[in-house]
Amino acid sequence: MFRPNSTCVLYKAGPKTVFGQGKPGVGVSEPCAIVKLNPAQAHTPLSTHASATRSAAEELVADAVILLAPTTAAVRNDIFAIDGVSYRIEAMFPQHALTGRLDHYEVHASVYPQSN
């Protein structure tokens, strides 16, 4: 069951600049629920070739996971901001209730713009 208890500002992806970069459009407020927020982004301290096992470090795939209402206007590549930190939507997973009704969207996002 989805109950939004926070709000985020959603910026629909606007037209591209002459450099092919997306421009965020006008922000609208949307109800959301926060599952996970990690506004910091840092390089992993391990690199594959330097570690003894030669295995890769576990990487954080999404910096933020939030839930959005089924009526949301958000799609992939849109940008939303929570408390002034912007995230770009990487993936959206529709989640259904037991009887098949669309309950909410699980949205995975990463910090925007990328700091590296």
Binding site: R3, N5, S6, A33, I34, K36, L37, L98, T99, R101
Partner: protein, 229 residues
């Protein structure tokens, strides 16, 4: 009114509804009765009336639950609860409709030859006849196609609705952002787990992230306000 009372009240109404449509069904599939389109229409008319009554009474129970004195002080929480209630009522109506249709199918599938069968009803045929005359068991499929006993699915849905709203109302009454999970059994693994209601407090799991695992449909966990020492 707490969520257990809501569940009991709605389940009593649902049992009465199933009892009612089963009664109509039995009166129409009596030995020798002829199943005509007119009979089926009549069955649908009568059971539709029962369904309408059931939905209206269920709506009343849910309204009473949402307007209880312990319900949300917050307009937003109450509005969301009302939206969820509408969704629940839609689902309840869909299940009630499926129950009704399953009886129509049973009526249709039955060639009413009981009169002639009764004369020679021994052994396997007798068992078959018993099977045909027994009280129908109501089953419904969920979205993934899994078959449920209808009363079990109904109970699960109604209790979950009541329980989730009860938790929401308790959280809405709290001033801070941190809350603690509490069980009647203090040795429970998750007893004392502290979480952030909005998900914005660092170092604590958010409510949305633990909701599925802690506040599941059959859970007994309660929430209390928590102040970081």
């Amino acid at each position: 009114m707490d969520y257990d009372a809501l569940t009991r009240a709605v389940m009593a109404l649902y049992d009465a509804y199933l009892y009612g449509i089963t009664g109509v069904y039995f009166s129409m599939q009596a030995p020798g009765a002829h199943v005509s389109p007119r009979l089926l229409t009549e069955f649908e008319t009568v059971t539709n009336r029962l369904k309408k009554t059931f939905i209206a009474q269920t709506r009343g129970e849910i309204d009473a639950f949402l307007s209880a004195p312990n319900a949300a002080p917050d307009h937003r929480v109450l509005r969301d609860a009302r939206t969820a209630a509408e969704g629940l009522l839609d689902d309840i109506e869909r299940i009630a409709g499926a129950n009704q249709r399953s009886l129509v199918d049973r009526l249709k599938g039955k060639t009413q030859q009981f009169a002639s069968m009764l004369k020679t009803a021994t052994g396997g045929v007798g068992l078959l006849l018993q099977r045909k005359l027994e009280k129908p068991e109501f089953k419904v499929a969920d979205a993934s196609g899994r078959m449920w006993k209808a009363p079990v699915l109904m109970r699960t849905m109604v209790r979950d609705f009541g329980y989730q709203n009860d938790i929401e109302f308790d959280l809405a009454h709290m001033d801070g952002d941190l809350a603690m999970v509490q069980y009647a059994d203090p040795n429970h693994t998750n007893n004392g787990l502290v979480f952030s209601i909005s998900g914005k407090t660092d170092g604590y799991p958010s409510f949305a992230s633990i909701r599925g695992s802690i506040f599941h449909p059959n859970a007994t966990a309660r929430v209390v306000s928590y102040v970081s020492p």
